[in-house]
């Protein structure tokens, strides 16, 4: 049992599949949600899986380096900036229009 598990340790394709599944779930949320905060959460899922991709490529393709991890840190920092601005916009919009339904954010179309 232990030998079987040790000989079936995940290789890069298992990791890539996991990250692609997480990204697809985020894409599904992005396409189906109507609430702006829920859409932002789906985007966070996608950003997180992208950062995971950077780290796993780092680990499997050039394990002696840390460039992928540095990129993942930048991804996290950009995600933080994005969430700050997005949430400020949603709070201001909600105070003004009393909705954060993206189907009703259509004033700029007129």
């Amino acid at each position: 049992m232990i030998d079987f598990l040790a000989s079936h340790s995940p290789d890069i394709r298992h990791w890539l599949l996991l990250s692609a599944v997480l990204f697809s779930i985020g894409l599904y949320g992005l396409l189906t949600r109507r609430n702006a905060v829920a859409i932002l959460m789906a985007v966070e899922l996608m950003l997180n899986s992208a950062a995971l991709n950077f780290v796993l490529f780092n680990r499997y393709l050039m394990p002696g380096m840390v460039d992928g991890q540095v990129m993942a840190i930048f991804v996290i920092a950009v995600a933080a900036a994005e969430v700050v601005v997005g949430m400020a916009i949603f709070v201001a919009l909600f105070r003004y229009r009393a909705t954060i339904d993206v189907n009703r954010m259509d004033t700029m179309k007129d």
């Binding site: 049992m1 232990i2 598990l5 040790a6 340790s9 995940p10 394709r13 599949l17 996991l18 692609a20 990204f23 697809s24 779930i25 894409l27 599904y28 396409l31 189906t32 949600r33 609430n35 905060v37 829920a38 959460m41 789906a42 966070e44 899922l45 997180n48 995971l52 780290v55 796993l56 780092n58 680990r59 499997y60 393709l61 050039m62 394990p63 002696g64 460039d67 540095v70 993942a72 840190i73 930048f74 996290i76 920092a77 950009v78 933080a80 900036a81 969430v83 700050v84 601005v85 949430m87 400020a88 949603f90 709070v91 201001a92 105070r95 003004y96 229009r97 009393a98 909705t99 954060i100």
Partner: protein, 210 residues
């Protein structure tokens, strides 16, 4: 029994357990009716990702993930959910057509990507072992001015974060300064008249109840 074998077995089990938990929690994030619960499930996904980073020999990054994502970004999301609370907005129920189209698009994307990376041979670009003190190596790399260093992106990210902080304050502030009437729906009398027609103006609160 060889201790390396036992460690390998434990890490295999951890990969599948953490990966399955992350996928289930991510499904819960995009399907939860209540946004506050979705935020808690998102916290679960991010914590599972931190565990996966540990499995990938990126312990420092796992710490950053917990501190920044779980401690900072998620708290912000929970605050936004609470500040934009309203009876009908918490229930987010997509129509069947939307669900089917979203599922087709995302599963199509998954199949396409999986087909690409399952047929691609991945060869290591450089041999080596993961550094033991990865926080030290990452820190030196971030501030390295030589070739392959990341000091310029590091400084640019710090400016970006400063801009995001100032922008967040300006956009979400309650009362705009007099010369800046268009920042947001402030509570000065007559400000909404500048921007919106009468039918779309938000209801004013009673005086003395800020």
């Amino acid at each position: 029994m060889n201790p390396d074998t036992v460690t390998g077995a434990v890490w295999t089990v951890l990969f599948y357990v953490l990966g399955a938990a992350a996928i289930l929690l991510a499904l819960a994030v995009v399907n939860a009716r209540r946004l506050l619960r979705a935020a808690i499930y998102l916290m679960g996904v991010l914590l599972m990702s931190a565990g996966l980073y540990v499995l990938l020999d990126a312990a420092f990054l796992a710490g950053v993930q917990v501190l920044v994502y779980v401690g900072g970004i998620l708290v912000l999301i929970v605050f936004a959910v609470m500040l934009t609370r309203s009876a009908d907005l918490l229930e987010d129920n997509p129509s069947l057509r939307r669900k089917v189209l979203g599922a087709v698009a995302s599963i199509g994307f998954l199949v396409l990507t999986a087909a690409v990376f399952l047929t691609t041979p991945f060869k290591p670009l450089a041999e080596g072992t993961p550094p033991k003190d990865d926080a030290l190596v990452i820190g030196r790399r971030l501030l390295d001015q030589g070739p392959g260093g990341y000091v310029l992106p590091f400084e640019i990210v710090s400016v970006l974060l400063l801009a995001a902080v100032i922008g967040g304050i300006v956009v979400a502030r309650k009362t705009p300064p007099p010369e800046q009437p268009f920042t947001s729906g402030g509570d000065r009398a007559g400000e909404a008249d500048l921007v919106l027609p009468k039918s779309q103006r938000p209801a004013r609160r009673a005086k003395g109840n800020p």
